[in-house]
Symmetry: C2
Subunit: 107 residues, 2 copies
């Protein structure tokens, strides 16, 4: 990977919101409406963050009904040689979402 490509990919990771999204996707695939209540930003802002991650090939999307679920592209992370395994654990946040009935069941 050349310097420009790697810089672009790192830039896509260089944002606290996107890093937190990555940390969440390490636990579980998520759709946009699940992510929104975890951040104090608007739905379009979350949507734009997902676009940024998708353009950098860091996540994959798949539509399920009216939801768009995003999953981590772990191969890509390995490719760029960054181990994001030491990110803060967000399991508790997801558990709270579930309690509030904000996790989507679609299978």
């Amino acid at each position: 990977m050349n310097f420009d490509q790697l810089a672009d990919t790192l830039k896509a990771l260089s944002d606290p919101t996107r890093l937190k999204i990555i940390a969440l996707l390490q636990i579980r695939d998520c759709c946009v409406c699940e992510l929104v209540p975890l951040f104090e930003i608007s739905q379009p802002a979350v949507s734009k963050h997902m676009s940024r991650l998708k353009n950098a090939d860091l996540v994959k999307e798949s539509r399920k009904g009216m939801w768009v679920f995003y999953s981590l592209n772990r191969d890509r992370l390995n490719e760029i040689g960054i181990s994001l395994t030491n990110l803060p654990d967000l399991s508790e946040e997801l558990r709270q979402l579930e309690q509030q009935g904000l996790l989507v069941q679609c299978d």
Copy 2:
């Protein structure tokens, strides 16, 4: 490391010029006047890049006479879990600099 700190550090790495500087420092400590002819940007621009890397604790500086030499903070790179060992090899660029008499001898 929390999300904000990691994002700041990754942002310091998310630039092709700074990645190339990191690649050079993996081979050899360098001073600003050695780096300038390797890039098509001004001396102040290189100086600002070094400030950015130093603020992120990714490099250390040490003055030797009128030169300021920068070295890689490898511990820091390990800390953030990024392996930049697959960057393009710039040994040839440094060899050409040496031929042009642009490498500083100060010991």
